[in-house]
């Protein structure tokens, strides 16, 4: 068993898994995770992120590829010998055992004596701020408390890797934020390498050092939250993470760093070729986030007519119909007095900067 808590690296090396039916669950996934990092596996349901988590934990044997924890290739080890701590989506606390017995369960499995187990369980319950709950049964605790117990139980075995499967999905919004902060605090204290599986992009962006975006079993992008949000490498990442306007157009001219695109909405703009080189004359989809569009007074940009305006507190979102009949959303920060826009007003829009408009080759 690993005695060193946290800090161990995790390498997912060219992992492919095929279901018995022949369908691919995950395909050629490569992740190089440094010790002590928090990584989010982000993707819609069915993208293979839970399968990947179960492969790392050892519940599923991958068809190809290797899982390396620290210096050890763990592929031949069963889950009970991998020293991987898991927090399950529904917490999976043992309903017939008290809270301290739950926390001490992994220690008992390692043959640690009762006095040490009790002391260690109490230390962990203090750590997750439930010092007085040891004698209770799981069903006597609230959802958030059960989650803390599940965390304490996973940390008790001093795992080299901590895996969290949709850990906050069952919690209401306020509690979710508290628990996200709590998990991040515990992760910082223990320094343990942590992998969070989630379909919630805000959760991934706010909690993780790096985010791995998965779609249909493939790794779309693996990078820091700002990489993924500001410099998406695929159209999927750009549309799945954050909201975006998709504007079709044709490439007028292009080099490696910039492309001039004629939008169907009726303007030429400079965009960043985000998904690799673009060819002149090719159809592209340009993605511009609502907060990266601005109203312009001159003749640059494209024309549109304001429809609905939605004041959302800190921002106001305007719906604008462009010349080609498609709708775009524009988000304006409410700083001081924002410009009042009437329904039906004619406006012109342009991206804030060329780097904030991402052009991807159009898929059919």
């Amino acid at each position: 068993m690993a005695e060193t808590q946290g800090g161990r690296s995790l390498v997912v090396d060219a992992v492919t898994h095929r279901y018995p039916s022949g369908a691919l669950a995950v395909e050629n996934i490569n992740l190089d995770i440094k010790g002590g990092e928090i990584i989010a596996l982000l993707g819609p349901s069915g993208c293979g992120k839970t399968t990947l988590l179960r492969i790392i934990a050892g519940f599923i044997a991958q068809t190809q590829g290797r899982i390396i924890i620290g210096d050890d290739i763990v592929d031949t080890l069963p889950p009970n010998r991998r020293a991987v701590g898991i927090v399950f989506q529904n917490y999976a606390l043992f309903p017939h055992l008290s809270i301290s017995e739950n926390v001490a369960y992994g220690l008992a499995a390692r043959g640690i004596d009762k006095a040490t187990r009790q002391r260690e369980a109490q230390r962990l319950l203090d750590l997750v701020q439930l010092p007085a709950m040891g004698e209770r049964l799981p069903r006597q605790l609230s959802g958030g408390q059960q989650q803390r117990v599940a965390l304490a139980r996973a940390l008790a075995i001093k795992p080299s890797i901590l895996l969290l499967d949709e850990p906050f999905a069952a919690l209401d919004k306020n509690l979710r934020l508290d628990m996200q902060i709590e998990v991040k605090r515990l992760q910082r204290v223990s320094g343990i390498t942590t992998l969070i599986v989630t379909h919630d992009q805000e959760e991934a962006l706010s909690m993780a050092d790096r985010v791995a975006v998965l779609s249909h079993g493939k790794l779309e992008q693996f990078g820091t939250p700002s990489d993924v949000y500001d410099r998406p490498q695929t159209l999927f990442v750009n549309t799945f993470v954050g909201s975006t306007n998709r504007m079709p157009g044709v490439v007028v001219s292009a080099d490696r760093t910039a492309a001039k695109v004629r939008l169907d909405a009726g303007a030429e703009i400079i965009a960043r070729p985000a998904g690799g080189a673009l060819s002149e004359g090719g159809r592209v989809t340009v993605c511009i986030r609502p907060e990266h569009l601005q109203f312009v007074g001159d003749e640059t940009g494209f024309a549109g007519v304001v429809g609905m305006s939605l004041p959302l507190g800190a921002t106001v979102v305007h719906e604008v119909t462009t010349a080609d009949g498609s709708g775009v959303k524009v988000s304006q920060a409410r700083i001081g007095e924002t410009r009042a826009l009437e329904n039906g007003a004619a406006v012109r829009l342009a991206p804030l900067a060329p780097s904030l408009a991402n052009a991807f080759p159009a898929t059919l």
């Binding site: 009970n80 701590g85 529904n90 369960y105 008992a108 499995a109 004698e135 209770r136 008790a156 075995i157």
Partner: protein, 287 residues
């Protein structure tokens, strides 16, 4: 897994709805039982003298006590066999696909689809001197003379275990199905091997099913008159047959009634031991 009664207000339902069944039970269960008890309190067959003579006779007679003891022991043996064989079937049921589940449930229920008499005669064919087992073993040259299987404790236990198996397996399947499947994974990820997972998680959580299965199997096994008399034959005397002899053959109704009451109390005692054991083990964990 708590099985504490839900704190629902019983009186909010119309108690009148239970009246037809209550009346039925009163007429055809409680009344005959009281009559039986009444009968057992007579010292003579004519029913003229009151007293506890029948009970005294039974409790001081080594033969009667022997029959009671061997019957209770037989029940324990059948229950143990059913539990040991039934648990793996129930466990398997929860881990296979829906197609295999259908097949397993069909096999489990199959004994219930045939009459007890037919099933018991089938066992006579299998276990008899010229039966399938002896014929096979002899033709293979493993034994020279036929084994005595019929009319033995072994034969009775085997036949009863087959007949009562559904009563054990069905509650076990239900209980195992209620266990959160993630708990297996959780136990494993915390470092526990399959045996520890079984004894610390699966078995304690399936205990309500084990208790229910044991209670049903036990009660059904020791009262299975037909199987006991046919497979047990004349040499093996158990309570149902003893009772029948006293009532029908010897016309000693008060003594037969006393046997019934004692038998009933003995079974209730065993069943309440099961239930208490269950409650004690569930209490473990600081509930």
């Amino acid at each position: 897994m708590g099985t504490a009664p839900a704190s629902r207000d019983v009186t909010s339902y119309g108690m009148g709805l239970a009246a037809p069944l209550a009346l039925f039970f009163l007429l055809f269960f409680v009344a005959p039982l009281l009559q039986l008890f009444w009968l057992s309190l007579h010292n003579d067959t004519a029913g003229l003298h009151w007293g506890l003579g029948q009970y005294l006779h039974f409790l001081t007679d080594p033969f009667s006590l022997g029959v009671l003891g061997s019957t209770l022991l037989l029940g324990a043996e059948v229950t143990a066999v059913c539990l040991v064989l039934g648990f793996p079937i129930a466990w398997l049921y929860q881990r296979v696909g829906p197609k295999l589940q259908t097949i397993i449930i069909l096999i489990v229920l199959l004994p219930l689809l045939t009459s007890v008499v037919v099933r018991t005669f089938a066992w006579i064919v299998i276990l008899g001197r010229q039966g399938i087992i002896n014929a096979t073993l002899q033709s293979l040259g493993i034994i020279d003379t036929p084994l005595k299987l019929l009319y033995t404790q072994f034969g009775v236990v085997i036949a009863l275990a087959q007949v009562q198996m559904p009563l054990m397996t069905l509650p076990l399947i239900t209980a195992l199905g209620r266990i959160e499947p993630n708990l297996d994974d959780a136990s494993c990820s915390l470092g526990a091997g399959s045996w520890r997972t079984f004894f610390r998680v699966v078995l304690p959580l399936s205990l309500p099913g084990v208790i229910a299965g044991c209670t049903l199997t036990y009660a059904a096994a020791i009262t299975a008159f037909i199987t006991l008399s046919l497979v047990g034959g004349g040499q093996m005397l158990f309570m149902p047959m003893y009772l029948y002899q006293q009532a029908s053959t010897l016309q000693n109704w008060p003594f037969a009634a006393a046997i019934s009451i004692i038998f009933l109390l003995a079974v209730l005692a065993v069943v309440s031991v099961f239930t208490t054991l269950g409650r004690l083990s569930r209490g473990h964990g600081g509930a």
